[in-house]
């Protein structure tokens, strides 16, 4: 059998690069890969942000920008949705934060399969390139909506039904390969490379969130993979997995017997867990931000961990709540409405625990904390509207309206992004060794936080009025009052303002990287391992000659009688502390 070595002695996976290219391009260091993932994700996310600005321009000022044709509008809708959900949020939270934080927070030197980790990034980049290339193919990118429902996604008349949809499905399949390589790394690293003393229940919530989200991803993405392949076959060689007998432009197509509903089931079997693939890392990270900046242990740590696991498990049996209007059996809808409402229980436990952690805490309203508290607001609002939509009878009239747009942007767009911002401000000093500018950070927070409310709250109202979503323009619609147009103008102004405010964020990050003051290695007085590296930013191999040893959980804040208001995880038990009881 293989000789056992401790990770401390084992330098095999540490491939020490000599050249600049080896260090920053073909790098196997989890930190560099994390930065590569993050920059790519943010880059492609900016494209999606611009697309949303263009859509808002069309909605508020129809016809003002002449290049936004109906076809272009649908292509923007589709690409905006797909990029934001998969290529930005999934890649950033797991490929970016997962890669950076897992080895540092569990006390490992790197991922367990560094080469596969590097491959994961390059395959991800390929998927992004294929996706972006679809803007330049004949017919442009697909305009089928991010759900890509057949038959319309591949029949004539839908924008990009020729090349665009092929590029999209290919890109998704490539992305899933990349994610699987990364994901196997994350879960195996968490299970097999934790340092001495780092039991599962001593892991910070961040790692729990990323760990469970990765498992969800590994089990959910195959559904999208299968669906993408089957639709590609229907589209290219003429099979009938999803395509029914259909007459298009008075010509009977060469398909029969396939079921578009089958695609919807496969898509949402992936699509719903995907919501939690994005949400769980955010839940985990925000727990750590709140505990650190409120100088209190996270309230109900075990409950928080269990809630993450239970939410993850339940997320696989709620998918058809996205399909209430597909004509499914009412009893089926009843089942999914029930499971959907049950998932609100562990989610509510988490929300209460965040609030209870703040309760009588020593709250420091630093920028990361502002974003964390902002997240609690946006998540509660988005979550509550989810309870509306989880009920079949409420969902049916609201399903195709702006209410849904308001709901899911609040709950899985704005909320995770609030956490992403908070997390970037929180860990930036460790990642770059520099401090950002507080004033700019606060300005960024307030404009973004108030701005997203100005954008999405009116959308709920539009939805109640029955304003349909995915419409290029309203035209003559008797039931839509004039005030809707006013609201649309207001939303667009808010959206463009929030979009522009992100320039403050980027300016702050870039300027501070070069000119910011040197950061303290542990500026927030945090307990978890990533703040205890010998170098800031952490050097290759993270820990110097010896791995850290963990003696306690990550939440020993404001312990009575302790010298400081935090006790790092590496501090051995003091004389008046009860040592390990078994």
């Amino acid at each position: 059998m293989t000789t056992y070595t401790t990770i401390a002695e084992d330098t095999r996976p540490l491939h020490h690069p000599k050249t600049w290219i080896g260090k920053y391009v073909w790098s196997q260091d989890h930190k560099v890969i994390a930065i590569q993932y993050s920059l790519t994700a943010v880059g492609v996310g900016l494209v999606a942000l611009v697309l949303s600005g263009l859509m808002r321009m069309q909605l508020a000022f129809p016809g003002m920008l002449e290049f936004i044709t109906p076809d272009a509008y649908y292509q923007f809708v589709t690409m905006h949705g797909m990029i934001m959900v998969i290529y930005l949020l999934t890649a950033l939270l797991l490929g970016g934060f997962g890669n950076y934080m897992i080895p540092l927070m569990i006390g490992a030197r790197d991922m367990v399969f560094p080469f596969v980790n590097m491959l994961s990034y390059w395959v991800y980049l390929l998927s992004v390139i294929v996706l972006m290339a679809s803007f330049f193919v004949p017919g442009g990118p697909t305009g089928a909506g991010w759900t890509l429902y057949p038959p319309q996604a591949i029949t004539e008349g839908t924008p990009g039904a020729g090349w665009g949809i092929i590029m999209m499905l290919t890109s998704l399949a490539i992305f899933i390969v990349a994610f699987t390589m990364g994901g196997l790394n994350y879960v195996t690293t968490v299970l097999q490379a934790r340092t001495k003393g780092m039991t599962l229940m001593r892991m910070p919530c961040t790692i729990w969130g990323i760990f469970v989200a990765t498992i969800l991803g590994l089990l959910a993405f195959p559904a999208l993979f299968v669906a993408a392949i089957m639709m590609t076959l229907d589209n290219t060689i003429g099979t009938s997995f999803f395509m029914p007998a259909i007459i298009s432009n008075n010509v009977a197509l060469d398909h029969s017997g396939g079921s578009p509903i089958l695609f919807q089931h496969l898509f949402w079997f992936f699509g719903h867990p995907e919501v939690y693939i994005v949400a769980l890392p955010a839940f985990g990270i925000v727990s750590d931000l709140i505990a650190t900046h409120a100088r209190k242990n996270i309230f109900g740590y075990r409950m928080m961990v269990w809630a993450i696991i239970i939410i993850g498990a339940l997320s696989f049996i709620v998918w058809a709540h996205h399909m209430y209007v597909s004509g499914m059996n009412p009893y089926f809808g009843f089942f999914f409405a029930t499971s959907t409402l049950i998932i609100a229980v562990p989610t509510a436990i988490k929300v209460y625990n965040w609030v209870l952690t703040l309760w009588r805490g020593d709250i420091h309203l630093r920028v990361p904390m502002l974003f964390a508290i902002g997240f609690i607001f946006t998540f509660i609002h988005g979550g509550l509207t989810g309870l509306f939509l989880g009920n079949v009878s409420v969902d049916v009239p609201l399903s195709d309206t702006y209410f849904v747009i308001g709901h899911f942007h609040m709950v899985m767009g704005v909320s995770p992004i609030m956490v992403v911002f908070g997390a970037i401000y929180h860990w930036y000093p460790k990642i770059t060794g520099r401090m950002w500018d507080t004033m700019l950070g606060q300005a960024h927070f307030w404009i973004t936080f108030l701005g997203v409310y100005a954008i999405y709250l009116p959308m709920h109202y539009l939805g109640f009025l029955g304003v349909p979503r995915r419409y290029y323009e309203m035209g003559e619609t008797a039931f839509v009052p004039e005030s809707v147009h006013l609201a649309n103008v207001g939303i667009t102004i808010a959206a463009l303002t929030v979009g522009a405010a992100q320039l403050i964020f980027f300016y702050n990050l870039i300027y501070s990287y070069f000119k910011g003051r040197k950061a303290d290695p542990n500026p927030w007085g945090a307990t978890s391992l990533e703040w205890l590296t010998p170098d800031t930013p952490p050097a290759h191999g993270n820990w110097g000659p010896d791995l850290p040893k963990v003696y306690r959980w990550a939440y020993d804040y404001s312990v009575p009688g302790a010298a400081q208001d935090f006790i790092p995880q590496t501090t051995p038990p003091g004389p008046d502390e009860t040592p390990h009881d078994h």
Partner: protein, 235 residues
Amino acid sequence: MKLLRELTKKPWLEKGFDSDDGPGADGIRGPAVAATGMWFYVGVASVMFSLIIAAYVLRLGNYGADPASAAAAKASLAWWTLAAICGIPPADDWAPMAEPFLLWINTGVLILSSIAWQRARGDLRSGRMDKLRITLTAGGLLALVFLAGQLTVWRTLMASGQFAPDGPALAFFYLITALHGLHMLGGLFFWGRTTAMVLNGAEPAEVATGVNVCAIYWHYLLIVWVVMFGLLLIT
């Protein structure tokens, strides 16, 4: 129940550590790393193949609905109900495909391949590297024969004008065999690495992980194939 015990710990009370704190907590890196990765991948692949089975069953539609046969009607009713619940109208265009006899031979070859892998594990345990070379080579070569056999089935079907668009059964057949074959190719990559090490005179300890993990993966692919082949046979 180790996991349950782990998850019910009260970390805020427990300071310090025991040497057995958690599976990886003692900083050991060993065969468990590759095995853990492999088992998670098996989970990923299982979800994928299970979803294909689900799609297959739903796509069968009204196939087998014969009012004369009570059993067939019952089975069909179950499928029909499932499809109805999911909102999928039962199609009636399912035409069973004629399974070429070669598929049985291929199945036999794949079983032999798995047996060779199992013997390779035995040889490794007893440290007989000379025998390991033979069993390991046989395991991989038999898998290659299996793949060649599958390709031959494709060619035979295509030669007789049976392409994937010609019916849902054929479409699923091509899809399933292609995905299964790709998984086998992935396994053969690791087989190649391990075999090259063994042929270059590696120590048993150096190849133990490779051999054991590959062997389990091979058995897994055999199970997948048997299930899929069985599904093809009964419909």
